[in-house]
């Protein structure tokens, strides 16, 4: 369902992603883990057509991401690391615009939006401006929005950052249900290792742009002779703290989000 082949992205002399290859099966829940600056977000950006790879091939739902952009784009939904809703529009309008951009048939548009907004418990707030939503509500809206066009693959880039335990639970319950009932492929990144341990069928750990290991959580623990995934992860990636080179917009949004979570 997701295929990454010899993927390279360099910025000048620096290889942010350095020759990575892996495959994700349909319906699989796949976690991409790694320290800050390991290349997770760059990989997701390339998979979701936001960045052009320097070399290598990418396939989503067997569509070539570089050559058949439009088809590849129809195949996935995404919840970005930073908020990406229009705060000056209502929840319904955000959903509606998304549905239009993804060419959802107008007959189904209304029922789909209603079902999804009810599911994330925002239907009674559909006509409120998103500006007035809390961080958790915005996240729920973004998940609902990412599903309007019935994607085969759902990308979640650190979806639970800044959410309370209740909302985190709700989110994972729902995501696991999507994968079990609709056979949706889930591709996510997170810094919370226990989240990956419970919610991923397979985990890939990358660092310095390279794939260190890939396998089921229990295999990763066994292979590294560790007691937990966290121990295995630290053995592989070391204990040194990393600085991420964020671009100014990410840093700015980070501050906005911190403010809205308060």
């Amino acid at each position: 369902m997701v295929e990454v082949k010899d993927l390279v992205k360099s910025f000048g002399h620096f290889n942010a992603v350095d020759n990575i290859s892996f495959k994700v099966a349909p319906g699989e829940r796949f976690a991409l883990l790694g320290p800050n600056g390991a290349g997770k977000s760059t990989t997701i950006k390339m998979l979701t057509t936001l960045l052009k790879p320097t070399s290598g091939n990418l396939y989503l739902n067997s569509h070539d991401v570089i050559k058949d952009k439009a088809l590849a784009r129809k195949s996935f939904g995404i919840v970005f690391q930073d908020p990406s809703v229009d705060t000056e529009m209502t929840a319904y309008e955000n959903m509606q615009l998304h549905a239009i951009l993804y060419n959802v048939p107008s007959k189904e548009l209304n029922t789909r939006i209603k079902d999804l907004l009810e599911l994330v418990e925002l239907w009674d707030r559909k006509d409120s401006l998103v500006r007035n939503f809390s961080g958790g509500m915005k996240r729920r809206l973004e998940i609902a929005r990412g599903l309007v066009h019935h994607p085969k693959i759902l990308f979640l880039d650190e979806p639970t950052v800044g959410l309370d335990a209740q909302t985190r639970n709700l989110l994972w319950d729902y995501v696991n249900k999507l994968s079990a009932e609709k056979n949706m492929t889930i591709f996510f990144t997170t810094h919370y290792l226990e989240e990956a341990e419970t919610n991923a069928d397979r985990i890939a750990i990358i660092d310095h742009g390279q794939l260190l290991t890939i396998g089921t959580p229990s295999k990763l623990i066994k292979d590294s002779k560790s007691k937990s995934l966290e121990e295995a992860y630290l053995k592989l990636t070391g204990k040194a703290v990393r600085d991420e080179q964020a671009n100014p917009h990410d840093a700015w949004r980070e501050r906005q989000r911190a403010r809205s979570m308060r």
Partner: protein, 248 residues
Amino acid sequence: MKAIYYLWLRQIKRFFRSKSRIVGSVGQPLLFLLALGYGLGSIYKRAGDGNYLNFLVPGIMAQTVLFAAMFYGAMIIFDRQFGFLKETMVAPTSRLKIMIGGALGGATTATMQGLLVLAISYVLGFRAAHPWMIPIALFIMFGLAIAIASFSSGIGSFVQDMQGFQAINQFLVFPLYFLSGALYPLTNVPTWLRYVAEVNPISYTVDAMRWSLIGVSKFGIAKDLIALAITIVICIIFGLNRFNHIEA
């Protein structure tokens, strides 16, 4: 088509929801009309050129449209900062449609602001020479708005923050406006200023506005419209080119 319509609608809705933007959009032109129109009116009359307010209004309308349409580029920067731009960038809708929808919306709100200034001018005592020609002025304003909204989407695509965008406004758009003959007649100005005005695309729009509203033209309406058409084409090509190159 539907995508273009909804992206257009988004701009319209956002405009009407922002009361401060509506008030702000007429504040500056109103100040220009009052301060310059009344302040310089008597000198202008003494120089033998007649009613300055009448002369000024078409220029101020062009000014309103110019800066309002430039604001569309700022909207792209806001969308980038608030993350919404990414939502449209990963959608299976072509960048061409996304830019056209947004720029049409930005151009529509800019034209509405120009019309609002015309209405205010009527309150201040302005009268069009031939009221039936006001639709022509509207058409010219929309042409300018399309050109500038496309141009500003190009700028908004590669300028990363509001400071950079303001710098472009300060060093490019303000000079273009002040050297366009919007505020003074180009008949007796120094030669260098006349040359600058003649290569300045805004001059021709201001001239066309004046032609349609007070029946006075320096370059001739044919030349004005050709210049406006060329400006629109160049600005759209520039805007599309830059917008196509956005990477997140």
